[in-house]
Amino acid sequence: MAKDLTKAVIEIGGARVSFGAVKALDGVTLAVMPGECIGLVGHNGAGKSTIVNVINGGLTPQEGTVASDGERLDRYSITIARARGVRCVFQELSLSPNLSIVENTRIMHRELGGFGWRGRAAHVIEKSLDQVFPNHGISSSQTVGDLSIAERQMVEIAMAFSDAGIAPRLVILDEPTSSLDASLARQMLDHVRRFVAAGGSVIFISHILHEILETSDRIVVMKDGRVVAERPAAEFDHHSLVEAMGSVAREDALHRSARELAAAPVVIRHQAAGLAFTARQGEIVGLAGLAGHGQTDLLLALHASQSNSWWPRSDSLVTFVAGDRRLNGVFELWSILRNFSIASLGDLSRLSLVGTADEAARGGEWKRRIDIRTPDMDNAILSLSGGNQQKVLFARALATRAPVILMDDPMRGVDVGTKQEVYEIIRQEAAKGRTFIWYSTEMDEVRLCDRVYVFRERVITAELAGDAVTEANIITASFEVAAA
């Protein structure tokens, strides 16, 4: 690590990335100096993962520069990033579960080959494990699939800090402590400080704010694809950090008029760890919190509890609007019409023969109602833009008779115009007595809800109703503010 300490390990200049209509990065400049730990915070959609992907070479920005050690890199890639000592610990598992820890080390470090590689690989990973997590009790011959989640996370972290020829210079830790207990997290944070003191660099992302505050040298706050604050960590405290993540100015601009629904009958309830979940008739219930903290699981559990996989039900209580269209929404080989009608075939058929005339009529009606922009409902679903595909999925759900509609962050990546149209339909349908359970990663949408449950670490940690549904309250509940 005898490189020049005044030149940035990685320097991103004016990076812009957009996915369709969504600006994921809107001119971000970030320099990581040797010997510093940067804390990166922001709520959903702030652009944290995008900037991480740019730094580790997985994503090339449409505009902007990448430089390293004062040298501009025009063709930056994962391979170049690795060769320059950039390592990344992702939230998703990057180890092969069927291989042992030693064998995974072999895969990760291509330079480890040759006779006797097992011994060398074991040495490399054990040394790193011993350094980061003293007394870890993990044997390097264990198969990764046999490890507990915490142990896997420990191996991932140790793998990132391990040195088999190319020393790590910048380690990106994306929520590394999410499955570690307090003492293991402590060990890891201590190691981060030691690594930084020895001249290494770390980018640290966490929803536990006190970890960020005490470990980082500098904190970068992102929002809507931009860096909105960048100061030494000492100049922040819990309160100012939460404040920097939100935008106080626009509060209540979009807020709907409060509705009194306490008297309406409860239509669905669910009890897991944490607060109980209930939804009332005609209510729009929001599920908020950082992405991936258990909101989708609740929706899936609600759906599973109300459906039967052996026998069709014509009076189903719930219907589902997918967020990940590719994964569990759209049927790619089908026409728009078939994609629309699949959930309400029971109503459209007689003696289990599909009434194609009824189907076409119903399709035409919904095409007008929510304005699906296509000349012909028989066109392929993939001929539509993402926003219009999403409208089809909405129409599919709304055309059923199910009184409860589950929405799994469906407006991700949809243009503003479409969003406004769909919001209006949701309001109308709710006024007619339908219940919406709406997981959203967008603050504006969450504030449209009558009542909001906030998730943290797979548990409902707060329930906000009426005027308490504010950005500040949601951010406070999403991040672990109190010291552990």
Partner: protein, 315 residues
């Protein structure tokens, strides 16, 4: 502290146990089988099946399935009984290029992102056709060295057992100990992260298919050594048997979880199942059925064991 077995060890427990029980039962029913000659007779046919099972295992390690192994082993048997005997050089050349074709199939499947089942189904017709062209009617003769190898009588242990042990050890070294084996299993386990670490997945898949071809060639040669002559349909059953052998030996369909030692044990178990029935004086009609039943029982046991293991692992 509770002793925690690794999942690899657990995976071997059931196959080893079922083989032991089956062997014990055979010995109990027919004590005379417990001899050098008896064991050789019982397990002789297991050698080519074990080799074919290892071949299938390589393909299954990269999450694919080979439906052409039976036809390919028949093809190799025909080459062995004709060209390899009459013109060793040409015969060797044919077998080497056949292995090359196997590797090529792996490349095509990967590059075009094709379902391996259908491509290998097509290949099975091709191999069967080539075999029929060579030997339209049963015939040919095993080369003398092959015959000698398969009928050799090593001291202490019969050839069938010696060969099984050698096959298991060699396959274990390749699959479980070498860098290449780690890479192949890594592709089965988490293809994306292997790719992210800078490896070529195409090369790994080609290697897996090539090794499968190599072991299948060995299976064909060994088979001819036992039967002395060949025909084009001689090993068609091997496709299903090899899949069953891998599964019996603790391998799984996806995720790169395979066990070469288990695969050999699986092949031995399948072979013994038939003899066991005949000792029980149950009609040999049920031999195939017994193989199916053993497969189902072992899979059920494994499910049970996994459940118990999961419950134990939970704090």
């Amino acid at each position: 502290m509770r002793l925690r077995l690794s999942s690899d060890a657990v995976r071997l427990v059931i196959p080893a146990l079922s083989l032991t029980i089956l062997l014990a039962a055979v010995f109990w029913l027919q004590p005379r089988a417990m001899s050098y000659f008896g064991l050789n007779l019982l397990l002789n046919l297991a050698v080519p099946i074990a080799l074919a099972t290892i071949a299938q295992m390589f393909v299954m390690a990269v999450n694919d399935l080979d439906l052409s192994i039976g036809a390919f082993v028949s093809f190799v048997a025909c080459v062995t009984a004709t060209f390899l005997r009459d013109a060793p050089l040409v015969g060797t050349l044919i077998l080497v290029s056949a292995i090359g074709v196997y590797a090529l199939v792996g490349v095509v499947i990967h590059l075009r992102n094709l379902p391996s089942i259908v491509v290998t189904l097509g290949m099975s017709f091709v191999w069967a056709g080539l075999a029929v062209l060579m030997l339209p009617a049963p015939g040919g003769q095993a080369p003398d060295w092959v015959r000698w190898l398969m009928t050799a009588k090593p001291p202490l242990m019969p050839m069938a057992i010696v060969a099984s042990i050698i096959i298991a050890v060699v396959a274990h070294l390749i699959v479980m100990r070498s860098s290449l084996g780690v890479l192949i299993r890594g592709v089965g386990g988490n293809e994306r992260s292997v790719e992210r670490a800078g490896w070529s997945i195409v090369a790994a898949r080609a290697a897996a298919y090539g090794l499968a071809g190599l072991f299948a060639v060995a299976a064909g040669i060994a088979l001819v050594g036992l039967t002395t002559s060949a025909d084009a349909n001689i090993a068609l059953r091997y496709t299903l048997l090899s899949i069953a052998g891998v599964i019996l030996g603790g391998g799984e369909f996806t995720g790169g979880r395979v066990s070469p030692i288990g695969a050999v044990i699986g092949a031995l178990t399948l072979t013994l199942a038939g003899s066991f029935l005949s000792f029980l004086r149950i009609s040999p009609d049920w031999q195939i059925g017994a193989q199916g039943a053993i497969l189902i029982i072992v899979l059920a046991l494994r499910l049970l064991l996994n459940r118990v293991e999961k419950r134990g692992a939970r704090p």
